[in-house]
Every structure is written in C-alpha cells, then in structure tokens.
Symmetry: D2
Subunit: 362 residues, 4 copies
C-alpha cells in the first residue's frame, strides 16, 4: 500500500481478497503497510488490483510458472532420443548444424557429409520458413521435409525443423526428431498447445523481445499439455545495439539453469547474423555451460536462398568444431562427437549407436 | 567496400552481381569504392554478400516493402464500412472501446450502453485470448463471439475481435467488422496469409519488439494477398523502462504516416497497463495525429477476468471522451461521435447512419 | 526467501539484519517465507543480501528517493523566476526555443525576434557543447554565453544553457536563468553536487538509458545539496527502434507527475532528430500534460553548425506555436504566451512583466 | 534521394554540397538517385541535410572515428606497463580483481593476498565512487587511494581505480597504474579530454546505452589528445531483460576487435550483478577472445559497503581462476598468471618481473 494509505483503503483491499477466499496477512511497517497473499490466488488476477485506491504496487514473489520451474522439478530434465542419445543434464553438449533452408537433396547430402566428418549427429534445415518479406523464398514445404528425412537416414542424423502452424504439427512431427518453434512463434499459443499434445522433443526459441519469465511461461503451455521434452534455445534479443543482428544474451544460460530444469542451447548464427562472429560466440556459449549450440552451415553460403551472410562455410564449420571440442573439454563437459568412421566404413545405417565422447587432441 | 579493399575483391563482388543479371554502378571515392545496385536485385538476397571478402556493409537505400509504402500509393488509404463510416485519411478519428475479454452478455450490454452514451461506434472484446499463462482465463471462444454479435446489433456497434489461428479466420471474419491480429502474432505468417485472403478490415497490432519496417513488412503479407483494408495499431514497445507495462512509441504515428498510406491508431491501455495513465496517453495520441485510439473499458474493472488494472471505469471513460473531443477539435481533426439519441429514442437499430462530427462544447 | 528455504537460512538472514539494528517482520506463507524490513535499513545496502543462502529476491517496496518523491512533498513544486514567471504546478505551460549551438550574435538576435513574435519568453542556446565526435564544433564557450546574455537583455528573454563540468558551474549560473544538465551528464555526480550548491533553477535532462527511478535519484543529488528548483526534461530514450533518433517516452510525463512533485517538460527535437516530426510530438507533449516543451529553432537550419536536421525553421516554429496554443487550451492548461507588443512598442527592456495567458484564437 | 524526387531538388542538394567544396558523385538508378560524397565533408555536418526537400536518408559508409579505427592502425595496440607486462594483441589475457570500494587497509591486504595466491597482478578498488543514491557510501577519496598505493607496493600489484572529475585526473593518475573511466562518464567530454592529456593507461568502460560506435568515438576523444593507451571494457548494456542487472554484450568483443585495434576486456560483475553468475560469464568472456576480465572480490561480501551481491568470495574467486586458466589454454591464449612464490618467499617487492604464462594443470 502507499505510504500514508487510508486505513479504509487498506481494509477495502484486504476484504476484496478475503471475499475471494484468498488468505491475506497484514504487515504494518513504520511508514507503509504490506498485505501479503499466501497460498496462491486461486486463479484471480491479483495484478488487476494495482489500480485500487491506496495500492502502490503488486509485487509477485513467487514465479508464475510451475512445471518449468526448478522448484517443482529439482533435477535437470534429460531428453533421451530413440537410440539413447541424451540432451541436457550432464550429457555431452550437442551441436546442431545445417542450412537455413532446405534447397535441394544435393545441398543436404553435402552438408550431412561435412557434419558427419566432424562427428555431428543433429542436422537442422528449414522446410517451412518464416520470412520477414512475402517476396522472399518461403521454403520447399513438405518436399523439403522428405529430402531431410531421406538424407538423415542415409547419414544417421537427427533432424530439427521448424513448424509454423498448428495444423502442420502432426505431419512435421512425423518427419523430424526435434520440432522447432521459431522465435516469432514463441507466444503463438494455439501452436504451443498443439505441440503440448505430441510426444516428440521440441526446441523452443526465445522471442526477440521475450523476458526469461515469458519464455518459461511459453514452455509452461507445452508442459501443461503433457510434453516434457523441451529444449530452450537462446538466439539473441533485440536491443539498441545494431552492429550485430541481435544481442546474444549468454547470461540467460546460467539464469535459466537456475530457474528451470530444462536444457538450453544457443544459436550464434541468428544472434550475430554474420558468419565471421559465429565461431567465437559458439565457443562462449559452450564455455558458459550451454547444453549445445545450433549453427547454420551451407555448401556455398554466398549463393544461399536465405541467411547466406550468417551461414558458415564447411571450412569455418570444421574449424569451429575443433575449437568447441577443446573448450568443452576445458570445462569438463565434453562435446558429443561421434566418429564418422563407423558409418563411412559400413556404408549403411547403424541401428542403435552409443554416443562417444571424444576428448580434444592437442 | 572496405577502405583499401583489393581491386580483385571489388571486381569479384561486381561479377557476382552481374552474373545474376543485376545492374551494378561503381563509384570510386578518395578512400573507398561504393558499388550501387540499381533497379532491384530480382529476388536475390543481397544481404548474403555482406560476408564476402572486401565488403564492408550492405546498405539498403530503398524500402523492402512496396504495397504498404507511400511511394506506391501516395494517397491515404481510407477504409469504408458498410454504412459509410470511414477510417483514415481525413475522416474523423475513431474510438474503439470495450472489455479485454468477453465475460457475459450482461457485461457487454452495459458496456455498449456506456459507449453509445459517449457516441462511440466501435466495440472491442476478446473471445479468443492470447494469455501469457496457460492457467489464465483463455476466453469464451465462439460463445463470446455470438454475444458480441448479438449486442452489437442491438446497439448498432462495429465489432473488433482478435483471431489467433489461421483455421479460425473465416469464422471470426463472419462475426466481426474488424478482425484483430494481436501483437504476439504480428509475424505469424500463416495467419497473415489467411487474413490476406479475406476482404474484411483488419487491425494489425505492432509486435512489442518490431521495428516500423518489420511492421510494414507484416502488412505487406496481407496486402500481397489482396486485402487492402489494414489499420495499424501502435500498442507500446518493449524497452528497459519498466514503470509502465510497455513504452508507447507515439513518434511511430507521424513516421508511419510518412512512410505508408495506411491508417494508424494507438492503444494506450496495453501501452501503459495502468488505467490512471490511459486518458492522458489517449489525448497525446489524438494530438499527434492518430486516426483513432482503442481503449479497454469494463463495468467493474477490479473484478475483470483479464487486464483489470488497465481497464477504464465507465466514469473515467466518459471523462476521457470529453477530453478527446476537445483535443481532436484543437487540431482540426474532429472525433467521430455519433449522438446516442437516435438509437435511444427509437429503441430499434438504425440501418445506415451518417457519421456526425460533434464539436467540443466548452 | 526461496520456496523450501531451510529454517536455518531464514534465521541467518533475519539475524544478519537485526544485528544491524534493522527491524524485521516474518511472514510464513503456505509455500514461502517473506522477511519484511520495516522502517528503513539505516544506510545498509540490503541488495547485497540477494546472494545469501536461501534468499530468492530482495524487493524494494518503498522508493529509494525521498526528497524528489511526492510522498515527502505532496504539492507540486512551482519555480518562480525573478519577474514572477512561474514554471510547474498549475502555471501556464512554457516553451523554450533556440538554436542548438550559439553561433553568432546575429543568429541569436534573429532567433530572439522570432521567439518574441510568438510570445515565447525562454531561449535556449548551447555555448559548451557535448559532441559525440571530437572533430565536431564544440561551442563558443564563454563568448557564446556573453552573446546570450546580451541578446536576452535586449529581448527580455530567460536563458537556458548547458553546463558540462563542475568547475564551470558558478560562472555559467551567472550568465543563465536556467542551468541545463545534459542527458550524458545525468549521472555525473560531481556536477550534480555542484549544481546542488547553487540556487539557480536547473533543467535535468533524462539520460538516454536512465530509468525514471534513476532520473529521480539524480534529482535527489541536487535536492540533497539544497537546490530545490529542478525541472526534469524527457528527451527520448534509447530503444531498438531506429527510425527516429530516440524514442520519446511521453508516458514518463504522467508517471513522473505521480511519483514526484517536480515540473517536467519534453524536448521533441532531440527525441526525434528530424524537424518534420517535432511539431506533432510537441503537441502530444502538451496534450499529455507536460509543463512545457523545449525545441530547437534556427534561422537557417541547413547551415547550422550542429543538429541542423532537427532544428525548426522560423516558419515551422511559428506554425507549431499556433497549434500548441490550441491544444493547451483544449486541456485547460494554457500556454504561456506573452504579447510581443509591449517590447516592440517601447523598444526597451521591461522590468517586471506579468505573464499573460493568451487563449487560442480560432 | 526519394524515389521520384524532383530534378530541381537533386540539383539543389548537389549544389548545397559543392558550394562547400565537397565532391559529389551522382548515380542515377532505375527508381532512385544516389548522391555520393567522396573524400570527406571537411567538418560540415552532412546529417543536417536529411531534412532538405527530396532527401530520403543520409547514410554514412565510412566510420566517424579515425584514430580508434583498425583502418588507420591495422596492428593491435599493445599496452606495456613499466615492468614489461603487456595488455592486448597476443599478450596473455589478464585478470583484474578487487573490491568495489576501498574500505580499509586490512580489506585491501587480505584481498591482495588472495589475488597473488592465484597469480593475479591487477587490483581494482574504488576510492571515488559514482553511486546512484546520494545517501550511499561515496568512497574514501584520496585516503582510499593512499591505501591502494601502499598495499599495491607490498604485493607488487598494478592498481586500477576510477576518476570522476576532470580536476582529479592528475592526482589519480599519480596513485594508479590504470585510470578507469566509469560507464556513467563515457561521454563526459571534459573528463575524456583531461585523460587525453596524460600518458597513463586508461580503461574506458562502455556506457550502459552506448552503441559500439559511440564507445569508439569516446575513445577517439582520448586518442585525439595524444593518449593511445586505452583499454575498452564491456560491462553490460541496458535492455528489457531484468533478470540480471545488465545484459552482457559479449558479441561486442569480436566486433570491437574487427573495427578497432584497442584491447578490450569484460566486467562480468557489473554485467550480472549477482556473484553466482560471475564465474560462468568470465569463462565465456575468455572463450570469446577478450583481452582480460575484471571482477569484484571481497573478503566478506555480505558486509561490503557497496556491490556486495556481485562480489565474489575468495573461495569463488579461486575456483573461477582455475577455470579461466583452462579455458584460456583451450583457445591458445593463456592467462597471465604470475606465481606467487617469488613474492611469498622473499617477502619483499620484486623490481622488474617477467610475466610467466602458466599452462593449466589438469
């Protein structure tokens, strides 16, 4: 309550709450009175009282998210894929890489080969693309998903691809191993609800203007639907600084790890928008303790149909992988690097593989 | 190009462009060379070249939006509703008011009565609500839309209500006079495309972290689909200042009016989040030249199921209306205020009404 | 305290505080315990406890500023100048206008004449200029101040000019009627302390990244020194939106008026950076209830040594004045407009003038 | 120029420039005309033309800073201290640590001992403190500097301490090895000019709302005065995210290294404001390639007179040092760690020491 709020105002607010079955505790200070609400407000929107006479401020001391909070789930969530590969907790950090957009089977195959040479198991590729301009390339749609599926089976890769509308969720979940919610859709609630209904892992990118609390509330929608396999992805927030496309909020990694049990990875490609800065930001993401990074890589970035400026060449990608392995090693959280040999030798897909942690060679 | 870029790099970039049929003009300065692209890039993503050797920066000098630009459409867009009421251009500024969420027919009827007493013709009311928390009230859905329809016919009001998913667009367009795209969905492209397919007016709210350029690009999606009846709505952007819910970017009003031909209104309720500040911000919005304002009003805000803190009481709403009429008058752009008398007298709905501009009484 | 904080942690924090003579009240909720600090912390930095075991968050419920708070000073501060002209409270809103930099006596005289024709009494002009680049024009220094003094006496104007370093404060206070602290110096504490020692009115511009609370804390430095004549000036904050130079935070006007008793004006020139938007933003500032506006005006803006793009021409300035008078009238808070006639007729300076409120002629 | 700008407007702008001796090149595109300015504008503020008829935008393609640009100084600046210790370029990364405020000689001595045990050579400590509140502890002033001097000589440490006003510069330069400009003073130009006149190294912290360009322009003031020994320090920028005190902009490190030759370090203590997050952010700063980090450490943080919540305990500091050594090693840019033994053994100050790079022991 305001300093000097009238006794009648204080009692009015107090009555307003108790009449709704809410338990109120009164604290009379030297200058101000505080009314504490204990045990929850039973769905009543307490914030709506901030305009009542005598009320100075409504301060929330408990978090509005429950299922995504570490309070309700003290252990780290670890997501286990069908072949036993694990994400989060103390599992090795992962690298997800691939083109912004699926353009052709050849493009995917060349990329997959490069990935496997560095031991990477996760390939990204957009088939449905959210583009700022209606005149830009909008993706190959389901044709693109089929290409992803085909190439992923050849190279034993897990596929990450974005879904943009609720009606597409079941189909896209069929084609992918991890369904991605893009940052523009972080608060697309019909989409989040549909995602809550499936049981595939989902990568939830942070909105460019979303607070960490709002991000965890978006995860809450999915958790409330029963899907607990959520990977958060920090991809840069919008600030006044325009030298890079967005501002990578790396501090969000340890903050999220404190507040929540969900795994969190970082996307340095979208955060920077410039290929020359992707590698160093990826190193920093691993050093700060992210559960992985996702980067864009393309056989010929200058000819890419989207996001060419931020896509790594194969050469830069391979260089980055070498660095990440060493930094990951330095913090005792190795990178998941699966030797390509087993696939190259046999020439056929391997059923269940055991992830191997390769220590940095110096 | 960089200061001191190698001649070979300059020629390489130049060739890269001309090989795509893009016309390039070279400008050799004292210290730097500029390559100008004239006549458009024919769909090629020029930005992807920013990482090529020797390139310092890719600067866009023409806007990426075409249909929403004033260059392509020098006259103001004026939206005409079935009864002849006009929005935008030199038409009177409008007021849209109503509850955040539809809660009951009684709530709507009481609000409608208050609106008509002040001469307001546009009622807002959410039936499908995008809520940050999955545990908050999510709206009455189609039941709410039916209530809106019924009450709007009784009181001769135009209805504004939000659509959240592509599949709902046709149905919601049936029930409303203006379909609203909320700020969280400003870049929900499947939704924008659906909206482009209908011919009902649409109100496109600005995303909390969207630049004006991105906002006009979102409008471009709708225009590209053939729907030209777009009203932009500024509702506050996210900044570091947290004393109010968002920061109203009123400067966006004259900037948008310069860049685009589309009407633009302001929502001071969401921008401030606090009822005590709504009236003064609404005055400022009218004074700066907005084509209207949209505010939340509720018969009993402290008991509202959503956004109670920012909803005006009937008393505050009526007071605000009196102020807006005077400010609108002072800038020679009167407020659309239609005398209630004609409806109250006859007790029945009036077919086609002629909007009347009421001058302020002092 | 955290949900599930150990009893020993709660007692430890409680003891930590009581051992410093701080009164603590304990509130045991269903899920969490709150420790309330009543009656102030006696200089102890309570925030430093946020890292103690078991502490979830340190929430401040009383404001950290005292003298600038409306709690400590419920009535509006009204600043009275030597001739009786008043600023703030229910006094007429003022207009301060003039060039960014003092360039010559002729420039000032032509500007002063234009100001007086519109009835303006306050002239701004920079003699010491904070420029982003060391290679830009840095101002005429004390020569500029002497020109300001001379011209102000000829035209009976009050002078507003900026001070940049503590050592200059006494001298600049001699030459001006209102000493300006620029936004870059809002937290230049040695400068604020010096300003606290004088008794001239001071205009304290908001820092581009300063919260309202930090701004009022800066005012607190001046008030703590004994200088109560503070005018706050909102001049745009830095956000992600770059279509204008800064984002005018007009909502800050009613918020500051609620939290503090100090007068607040708005600078639409620096907020927008573009002359074509200054007039409409000034109207909005008056409509929202600012105690005045400050704008840049120049006899030949395209040739100005600084800030030419945002300086009004005489023609635009005169047009804006006509609009402001009408908007001010519409909200029953007239603009201070002093007929030029008395000065033009007599040709000599008038001792004590009585401010006259001129109603808009329509 | 605008699409469809009148030929007369184009010629008018062109003449306006050539009449000032500025060379203009005209580029007529399909839809728009571009006027290129080559060879500099000779001090004329070209931006002031953005409001001239027909002008769409004034775009700068060369950077406004010269001396701080890598164009003018392609090699990294390396700062060499009297004993040969080097900062920047390929020199080992440094750690600067110490209390926020100097409180007592005992506090400093205990801290110095902890620093030297970890091999750290740089101690920070504030004697003049910029505090948001006039009622907070403002520092011990010159008494504090004398304590710093004394303890630094005992332990062979370099001292970093802040200067807040121009008049103090010579005295503080006497007492310290690196003079710090705080983020609130980044654009305090009289102070920057004074700093330009001395020859001591200076650490220039980034303003919380300063773009990288503005930061380099602030460095330009110091360079223009002749002082080339500048270390930039990223300490977090102000954004909408409030879960930490500021948002660390680690991406600024590689961006600055590309644009400028100056060394850059990171301050994770002010960026996070919470001790539990300092260590992980410091690791990320080293991993991304910073030339060093600066952290706050205190013998008893819960009793610190300022910034207690963000100060590391000795235990956390020692743990962090071990981690930093390993991460630095992983990127082949070792940390400067000077064995304490030489000092502890002899018990007396060592004249000129040779920095030793200690590889991580695993």
């Amino acid at each position: 309550m305001h300093r000097g709020a009238a006794e009648s105002d204080i009692q009015n607010v107090s009555k307003h709450l108790t009449s709704r079955g809410i338990r109120v505790e009164r604290l009379d200070g030297h200058e101000q009175t505080i009314l504490g609400i204990l045990g929850g407000s039973g769905g009543y929107d307490v914030g709506s009282m901030s305009a009542m006479p005598g009320v100075q401020e409504v301060v929330r001391v408990s978090t509005p998210y429950r299922l995504s909070s570490r309070n309700s789930h003290p252990e780290d969530t670890v997501i286990t894929l069908p072949d036993g590969t694990r994400i989060g907790g103390d599992a090795p950090s992962i690298v997800i890489a691939g083109p912004c957009s699926v353009e052709s089977e050849d493009q995917l195959r060349r990329t997959a080969e490069c990935l496997r040479k560095s031991g990477v198991r996760f390939m990204r590729g957009g088939a449905f693309k959210p583009r700022t301009s209606p005149y830009s390339f909008q993706g190959l749609g389901f044709d693109g998903l089929e290409m992803l599926k085909k190439v992923s089976e050849e190279f034993d890769l897990f596929i990450v691809s974005e879904v943009m509308e609720p009606a597409h969720v079941p189909a896209i979940a069929e084609f992918t191993d991890i369904v991605q919610i893009g940052s523009r859709n972080m608060q697309n609630y019909p989409l989040l609800r549909q995602i809550g209904n499936i049981r595939k892992p989902v990568m939830l990118k942070r909105g460019a203007a979303a607070t960490i609390e709002e991000w965890l509330m978006a995860a809450e929608y999915i958790l409330a639907g029963g899907n607990e396999k959520i990977i958060l992805c920090e991809r840069g927030i919008r600030t006044f600084e325009t030298s890079l496309r967005f501002t990578a909020d790396l501090g969000a990694v340890p903050v999220v790890k404190k507040l929540s049990h969900l795994p969190i990875i970082v996307d340095p490609s979208h955060a920077t928008g410039r290929r020359e800065f992707v590698g160093s930001l990826a190193r920093a993401a691993i050093a700060i303790g992210a559960d992985g990074v996702m980067v864009e890589v393309h056989p010929d970035p200058d000819r890419a149909l989207s996001d060419g400026a931020q896509s790594l060449t194969f050469e830069l990608f391979t260089e980055m992988m070498g660095e990440l392995v060493r930094v990951a090693d330095a913090i005792d959280r190795p990178l998941l690097v699966e030797p390509q040999k087993r696939i190259m030798d046999s020439g056929e897909r391997i059923g269940t593989t055991t992830p191997v942690m390769v220590k940095a060679q110096k």
